[in-house]
Subunit: 342 residues, 2 copies
């Protein structure tokens, strides 16, 4: 398996992607192609006392770096020799997955226009894995599409279900629409019409609407939403968790007694922190693209990059994209015929 890694994307590039990728090559037995400015990649390695590329790791040269403020629409023209665009081309021509910590918008454009969407998929969706009281859930879309139609959301429901099943190992995942109430009549036209579409989808474990409050409590395995609402959901979970982690720290540092209390609870606090650590979760997956494209957090360190690469590897192994492709083929097949006969 060959995983393409954008060596120049993210706040800590090239060091974090390079070291994370080398660790991944070693630990997970995957081949790695580091894409970027060769001299800077080698320099990052040298700083760590590594003089030669480890086995299974190669470099593909790309002269440019997509800046964080680059307008996504300009990327293919203004940054055509960037690590991101070259990486996506290498993905198309033989790579199995692509991991980047660069700009989300640019990566989405590159994924959609270079790697291309699966036939029949109307829009790619950015999906994240969010910890919940019962384990984890998939939320999509969290930012690719501010405006959605019921048909987009219907596709997101299937794509999210395949992702939850394959990547998270949840069998028969419970799919729900993010809404402002549980009843079928709740929400905007978008939610009501999507409800009508999903209610009749026999091959989906559709459980109706889920309120935002129940998402962290494990109310659904797949939370389907437009990119604007999904962004609000995801970011407010993050913000609240950060707020509470700060308050927890305040609580433990209040006095000599609470500091002793902290020492007694240390292992529990570590579990608590781990739960909130975005580095553990990996990155966000662009669903609907021909091959796995994983966006690592911009602030990723080498550990987070390694986890994002592991995530990409699992998606390749479990065939998330193939499952979506098969589903789309089936949807596109003229009724009465099986895809094999078309």
């Amino acid at each position: 398996m060959k995983i393409i890694v954008d060596a120049m994307g993210g706040d800590n590039a090239p060091k974090a992607p390079v070291l994370g990728a080398i660790q991944a090559a070693k630990d997970f037995g995957v081949e790695i192609v580091l894409v970027g400015q060769t001299d800077r990649i080698l320099e990052a390695l040298k700083e760590e006392g590594i003089d030669t590329l480890p086995p299974g790791v190669e470099i593909a040269f790309a002269s440019q770096v997509v800046t964080m403020d680059a307008a996504p629409t300009t990327v293919l023209h203004a940054y055509k020799d960037s690590s991101m665009v070259v990486g996506a081309r290498l993905l198309s021509s033989g790579g199995d997955a692509f991991v980047s910590a660069g700009s989300t918008g640019a990566l989405l454009t590159v994924g959609t226009l270079v790697t291309k969407r699966i036939k029949g998929v109307k829009r790619a969706a950015i999906s994240v894995v969010c910890p919940t009281e019962k384990g984890s859930c998939v939320i999509l879309d969290v930012g690719a599409n501010n405006e959605c139609t019921p048909e987009y959301l219907q596709q997101f429901a299937y794509m999210g279900a395949f992702y939850a099943e394959k990547y998270l190992g949840i069998s028969d995942p419970r799919v729900a629409i993010l809404n402002n109430g549980a009843e079928e009549t709740k929400g905007r036209e978008l939610q009501k019409e999507t409800y009508a579409l999903l209610k009749d989808a026999g091959d989906l474990h559709f459980i109706g609407n889920v309120e935002a409050r129940d998402v962290p409590l494990g109310g659904a395995d797949v939370v389907v939403c437009d990119g604007f609402s999904g962004n609000i959901l995801l970011k407010s979970v993050e913000g609240t968790a950060t707020f509470m982690a700060h308050k927890l720290k305040e609580m433990f540092t209040k006095s000599a007694a609470t500091k002793l209390g902290y020492l007694l609870c240390r292992s529990g606090v570590a579990d608590f922190k781990k739960l909130l650590d975005s580095r553990e979760v990996g990155g966000s997956m662009f669903l609907g693209i021909q091959k796995p494209v994983v966006k690592a957090h911009g602030s990723s360190d080498d550990y987070a990059m390694m986890n994002a690469i592991r995530q990409a590897k699992i998606c390749v192994e479990t065939g998330v994209c193939q499952a979506i492709r098969d589903h789309m083929d089936q949807m596109n097949a003229p009724s009465g015929e099986t895809p094999a006969e078309t």
Copy 2:
């Protein structure tokens, strides 16, 4: 000051509203009118060993009770002798504020159609106070209007600013639009057009967009949003806080050592819990209505009801509705003239 209290609204009625109101009459020196079924109100008092109504508390009879599943549009006809509708009529005819723990949708309808909106206000908004790392912020709308126009949001911005200033005592509150990014170009058309309107509002401390992540961290004092997005924001903050409180409990009950740790941190844990206790915050305020209408949480106990009544009292004292009325008069006045001359 006369505060009308719906004695029959909420899961714990009539006991919680009745006892909360009696406590409020005693502690805050307000007159209370308990609206509902007299026999049940007196029975609730008797159960607590109270045989006569305390000074400053009276009962207004209403034979019906609005059920939680009543369609808001039917309330004025099917429930015209309910505690909610009668309460709203009493508010119009001499009351200063109305507090109810009944159905949000029904109360909004009653507030809008019986108490009526302030002249010029296009839509009433449900506003909540949310704890943040820097104190508190106002979020509106959190559910009254799924679909909004930039003009609605512009009005919400002003109404929320008056509420933050008067009720929370924040001088020159920082007003922001809830969005999926900080830049002016982010969001849907609604957010972009609202940005353009608020940018030119000289008398508002508009600070641009706020991401959901920064709301719990104190990024703005007033968070302006459509009711659908606001609902997602509010509910996911609640859900995440609940999730983390459960995890915290797990952490402290893990072993004998962590239980001892809990004892050492007890006062801090109490502060932490208090922060999350919806009973402390009071209820949600319907802004844009002629007089303060406060919706207490459906599960309110007497303590929460008392706090909701205190909230109503502060809104009356500080003149939140009057400030909105003055602002609307100024907006409605022909340019070049002052409202006094029209």
